[in-house]
Subunit: 186 residues, 2 copies
Amino acid sequence: MNLKNYLIKNLNFSEDTELPFKIYTIEFKKNQIITDFGDIERRGYFINSGIIENSIVKDGILKIIDFVFPGNFICSYTSYLLQVPSEIQTISLTDSKLEYFFREELEIALSNSIIANKIERHVSEILFLAKINRENEFLLLSAEERYKKLIKERPEIIREIPINKIAKYLGIHPESLSRIRKNIIS
Amino acid sequence: MNLKNYLIKNLNFSEDTELPFKIYTIEFKKNQIITDFGDIERRGYFINSGIIENSIVKDGILKIIDFVFPGNFICSYTSYLLQVPSEIQTISLTDSKLEYFFREELEIALSNSIIANKIERHVSEILFLAKINRENEFLLLSAEERYKKLIKERPEIIREIPINKIAKYLGIHPESLSRIRKNIIS
C-alpha cells in the first residue's frame, strides 16, 4: 500500500486531496541501515514493501524493540520529535521500498494546513497505540503467547526473519524459542 | 500550573489565545477512581495538583504502569483514541485538582481549528515520549537505577506514595525495594 491510499482509507482523504508537503521514495537493501544510533532523525517514512527492524543497545547487547511491516509509518520518533541523537537503530531487514517526507517540510505545512496537522496527529496516535500494544503484550502475555500472536498476525515473519532475531524481539533465548516452537508443533 | 500557562510555555500561545473548546475543572479525593477498567474514556485531563496512578490488571494482580504528576496530561489514552473499553484504571492517589475537556468538543474543533490540532498533536507527542521513556527505563535500567531516577526526579514520591505502590511501579517485590533503599542510605 502506498501512503496516498493509506490516507484515503484511514483519514477519509479523497483522490484529489493534495498533500501540503512533498513525498519522496527510497529503496533499501537487506540489512542496510536507515537511521543509525546517534543520527538525528529528519525524515518520517511509510513502508511500501519490506520489513524494518528497530533496535536498541543495552550493556553492549542489541535488543530488538520492533518489527514494522508494510502499510506502517516508521522513524526514530523520539529523535524526530526532539531532534536529539537517536537511541535506536532502524535497519531494513529485507529489501524494502519506502516513501518519506522531510520533517522541516512538514513543519512548515503544520503552521497553516489542517491536512498536514491531521496527518501528523494520526501518525503520532498510531505510533502511540503501537507502543501501548507492545507494552501490554509484555505486561500481559507470556513469551509463548506473544510468539503465537506474532505468527498469527504476521505469518510471513517465519519466512522472512531469522529465528535468533525473533527470539531477541520476544526477549528470550533462542533455545527457549525452539522449545516453544516444538510445543506448538506437537 | 494550569493548562493555559502550560500552553503559553510549551506551545508559544499568548495570553489572548482563545481555546476553541471548553475547559472544565474537577476535584478528586484521595483514592477516588477517575476512569475505571471498562469505561470508555471521553475526557482528556490536565493535572493542576495531586498525583494520578495508572494501573492494569494481569492474572488478577494489579500492576502500576505510571505515576503522573502536576503539569501533565492524563487519560486512558487508548480508550480515548479508539473509544473502546479502558484496559487501565486511573485513580487519584492524593487529593487532586484537574482541568479537562470533552473529546467530542475537541473533535468538533479539530475539523477546522489549527489551534485545536496543535494542542492535540502536542498531547499525543508528549504521551508518546512518556511511553518511550518508560520503555527505555525498563529496557536499559535496573530496578535500583529506576528507583534512584524516580526519587531524584520526584523526591515528593517518598512522602506521597506508599512503598508497596512504588515497588509495584518498579515491578519488584516490596522486600527488594527495602533492600535497595537500605543500600542507598548506607
